[in-house]
Symmetry: C2
Subunit: 95 residues, 2 copies
Amino acid sequence: MSDPLGQVFGALADPSRRHVLGFIAERGTATATELTGELPITRQAVAKHLATLAGAGLVESERQGRETRYRLTEAGEEWDDRLDALRRHLERRKP
Amino acid sequence: MSDPLGQVFGALADPSRRHVLGFIAERGTATATELTGELPITRQAVAKHLATLAGAGLVESERQGRETRYRLTEAGEEWDDRLDALRRHLERRKP
DNA sequence: GTACCATGCAACCATCGGGTTGCTCATAAT
DNA sequence: ATTATGAGCAACCCGATGGTTGCATGGTAC
């Protein structure tokens, strides 16, 4: 809908989605079923989250045989970094 | 609900809310009714947006007589700056 | 070829979110 | 004292969202 910033913020607003982003970031790549083991939700729910992240341009997929591997886009990597920075920013400023 | 980052991202996901943030940023301070003139929505809708922004810690209010003036918190100012930077970031990388 | 495994798709459900209208309350302004 | 203005409920509407279950499909492995 032509509100790129809105889509990105919307995507990052959900904790599961941030977790997914972080997990892919440290693994380099992941599939929906792999991610499912990491979260207390079904594979289909994970798939939806991945679709949202893809819609926001943070993640992209490539089908390899019977599985679909996701990896971060450049924007996704930038945001993963920013998230780290933000978390540290919060830690430092709170206690 | 103890997901500070989520609340902030959620707050920033909405264009009206980003507009409100920017408007207060350049004015220094604003009331709900003032803001209403800036957006195609009712005063009550604006009030809800302000409540959301306040909940995310981006804005704070102070009642002065019969009006309630809102201004940015420190976090709010930081985010307003980051938003500017992000927009410029997007402009530069797209065309 | 048969069985298995990761996906994809669709319907459905409950909650949330952005928005509205309508009314009351308190503080100015006259 | 009356009126006008700004704010604060509360109830309601409806579309989006996070989640589920159930089933169909297409590769892989035997």
